[in-house]
Symmetry: C2
Subunit: 337 residues, 2 copies
């Protein structure tokens, strides 16, 4: 490996002079600069970042810890985050937690050892607090994305959960639905809690009221929901839901599949809407009515907040950026029959 010592020897200068040239120090004579740069070119020298970070105390590495990159919502977040990171000279380390606290813990430990300068973080649940406290102790800044942890202060980028829920529920109400079921993620996640609350509030405000039997809690993962859905439809005919709101794309698709397995037609027998598009390149005939959260922008802005924080260019008080979603009405929702 070519080092500054090799360059120094060949250029007849001290290693420190080479270092100065590399770092564009202004106190270098033009002739020396040229001579050294020439040798750098010649030997194809590339600075060793590990050595550098030992003194500089920064690695120019950041991480994005999220549940599953193959969820298109997170795929877009990742793309936005990587774009911003590259633009600002950082490299992105990716981690998939699968909503699993042990995996999350493993990543946090590895990342601290690797010395990442900061983490864009989608927590797996309230138990993430312990992991985040480790980061705080080590002075590793992080930014919450999509979800927060009440007990931990940090910058936040999230969708507008109350407003988005309201949009979706009101869309269903406008179609004449009154028995609307909510299939939600685990309520130890802030976004699931906020969506559940807004769901109830919106129904109450519309004078419909809510009933716990229509509010189901499951996971934000690919899963089989046959049992849950069949239970919803085991009610008496005039008690069965005529619409289902799924609080993320995986739940939306899980629900569609369960309905198909149970031979319940969509939208004839039941309307279905969800948060986030399951398709990243909407196909010819996308089917699901969704509220599209601006995932790419969330990743992009999140990375920006993070790097500002890393470079101490951020205000002392934590920022919370809430982005609106766009309702896209498609074939999976129709007027109540």
């Amino acid at each position: 490996m070519v080092t500054i010592y090799d360059i120094a020897k060949k250029a007849n200068v001290s290693p420190m002079t080479v270092s100065r040239v590399i770092n564009n120090s202004p106190l270098i004579k033009e002739s020396t600069r040229l001579k050294v740069q020439q040798v750098i070119q010649e030997l194809e020298y590339i600075p060793n970042k590990q050595a550098r970070s030992l003194t500089s105390r920064e690695t120019k590495l950041v991480s994005l810890v999220l549940p599953d990159i193959s969820n298109p919502f997170f795929t877009n977040i990742a793309r936005g985050a990587e774009d911003k990171a590259l633009q600002l000279g950082y490299q992105l380390i990716l981690g998939n937690t699968d909503e699993n606290k042990e995996k999350e813990n493993k990543y946090v430990n590895m990342l601290m050892s690797t010395g990442v300068d900061g983490v864009l973080f989608v927590p797996t649940g309230d138990a993430s607090a312990a992991n985040l406290k480790k980061l705080i102790k080590r002075n590793v800044p992080f930014v919450f994305i999509d979800r927060t942890i009440d007990s931990i202060q940090a910058d936040v980028i999230s969708g507008d959960n109350p407003d988005t829920t309201r949009q979706l529920v009101n869309h269903l109400i406008e179609l004449g639905h009154t028995r609307i079921a909510l299939i939600n993620g685990p309520t130890d996640l802030s976004n699931a809690r906020e969506r559940a609350q807004a769901f109830k509030d919106t129904l109450t405000l519309a004078g419909i009221g809510h009933d716990p039997k229509y509010m189901i809690e499951t996971h934000f993962r690919k899963d089989n929901l046959n049992e849950i859905v069949s239970k919803l439809f085991s009610f008496q005919k005039d008690e069965r839901p005529t619409a289902i709101l799924a609080t993320n794309n995986f739940i939306g698709v899980n629900t569609l599949r369960a309905l198909r397995a149970l031979q319940i037609r969509v939208p004839e027998d039941v309307s279905v809407a969800c948060f986030d598009d399951p398709d990243i390149i909407p196909d010819y005939n996308p089917f699901l009515t969704v509220a599209k959260q601006p995932a790419y922008d969330m990743g992009f802005l999140g990375m920006q907040l993070l790097i500002e924080r890393i470079q101490q260019a951020a205000p002392a008080s934590y920022r919370k950026i809430v982005l609106p979603a766009e309702l896209v009405i498609r074939g999976s929702t129709s007027p109540k029959t």
Copy 2:
């Protein structure tokens, strides 16, 4: 930051003893080991990987350089690669080239500086050779995934391009199509070349023959193909293609969109099939007939080959693993009318 020196002082041993405990050296007295481990726990010591890699000459970082993580084909590759990396104790740095040689070059330079132990590489084209030669010079192993570069030797994981093309073309032929157009990626990419060749061969073998006017070259990116498609349909009626084969998912969707814009119906007026599903969670009613390449496995196996290579556990001769695709027939292809 807590270092081995802090541990050493508190435990009344030398830093080297601490280092030995951390690395499970067998020459440590049990009582010392316990004492040191106790202090490590107490001070929540975490080893500094940068310092370590300075002597060990490995960073336990690997990179995946691909065109665009938001293409579901590559999303799945990424997920597979990350899973394997984590399993073997490596962290994954992600890079999106957007099929752009300059971006690719930028990543390669950054990665060498960062000191990644290896790279899983989807080259952007023949011009990638220069970048790869830099890696070779620095002794950074890499594995090709999806595409190769003729002039560069390395392990390879790819789909079975000839066989997959054959499956798709034969499916169209069986439906009665004879005027089949190919909308392909740039033929300075090995996969595009192989697909073009197999396309011609399959048609020839079927006694249909091929015509350059039905073979279009474009990009493997999201793009507007209105012009290209409208040209194909500007032929006399009995010369117009009745089927289109797109060589990746983006081209497939681009084509569908162009056809819709031109009010050409699918599959009534023209059948469309492509490589790789555009949807990662196939929606309720996926439309496109596709050949699904096993992207997750490609990423997983690719990472395995790479890490074997890094750890010098690989055979001297380069390995090439070719994985078959699965034809999924859906509504975008139908018998010729």
